[in-house]
């Protein structure tokens, strides 16, 4: 699998998105997925989304990404490695 290009997004780009990034790095490593993760705010993420494969954000922000080509994955619990791992498996790995 080619290197996966991922955006982690949150309202400000400095809190939740960085937590998502930290958690994703661990989750991808465990699942043996080679991924490059960029974190930013939702506005920037939306304008750049078409250059990326996947966008991760808090579930309450999913609506912001209507119309983008990238797979948008909303997370209920940003601290749950279990939720992240399951969603990566279901929406990224199983889709390949």
């Amino acid at each position: 699998m080619a290197k996966l290009k991922v955006i982690a997004a949150c309202g400000s780009g400095m809190g939740s998105s960085q937590i998502i990034k930290m958690k994703l790095e661990k989750a991808f490593k465990k699942l043996n997925v080679d991924a490059e993760i960029y974190h930013t705010n939702v506005g920037d993420a939306k304008s750049q989304a078409n250059n990326y494969d996947v966008v991760f954000c808090s579930e309450s922000l999913v609506g912001t990404f209507t119309g983008v080509k990238a797979t948008v994955i909303g997370l209920k619990n940003l601290l749950s490695e279990k939720e992240m791992t399951e969603k990566i498996q279901e929406k990224i790995i199983d889709k390949k």
Partner: protein, 146 residues
């Protein structure tokens, strides 16, 4: 993480708040008192949540009020607050209720990243979260990580 928060007096305990905006302001109060942030910062946090929804509630019971770097922030810090009663961010979604608040402020990205990493590490541990929910005093907080 809690040792430093207690030492720097960056914590508060409250019964509850009817309006999440008041909860965000109260959570920020110790940082306003010690000059880490200015009143613009809580305003910015509230504005973003009104615009985008409660994205600062990152997990059940856990809220991390924060806004963009550089607006109303003089230093890098975290500040803790706990409420006895859940604060409702979305009247239709109990999963967006919060009782543990950790305000994030940043001017230095390296320290901020260390803070975030400690925060996410600590609050990913369900046993620790359970103890934090029980805490009523700074002394209780110090015992959480023992």
């Amino acid at each position: 993480m809690f040792k430093e928060l207690v030492e720097k007096k960056r914590y508060s305990f409250h019964e509850g708040f009817n309006d999440w905006r008041d909860a965000v302001r109260a959570a920020c109060q110790p940082l306003l008192d010690d000059g880490t942030i200015t009143p613009i910062y809580p305003d910015e946090i509230i504005k973003k949540v009104e615009e985008l929804g409660p994205y600062i509630v990152i997990a059940p019971n856990i809220c991390i009020p924060h806004a963009q770097e550089g607006v109303g922030v003089n230093d890098t810090a975290m500040c803790f607050m706990k409420t006895e009663k859940p604060v409702h961010f979305d009247p239709n979604d109990p999963e967006k209720d919060a009782r543990i608040f950790v305000v994030l402020a940043s001017t230095n990205n390296n320290i901020h990243l260390e803070n975030l990493s400690a925060l996410s590490e600590t609050l990913s541990d369900e046993a620790i979260v359970a103890k934090v929910l029980e805490a009523k005093t700074p002394e209780d907080l110090l015992k959480v990580e023992e």
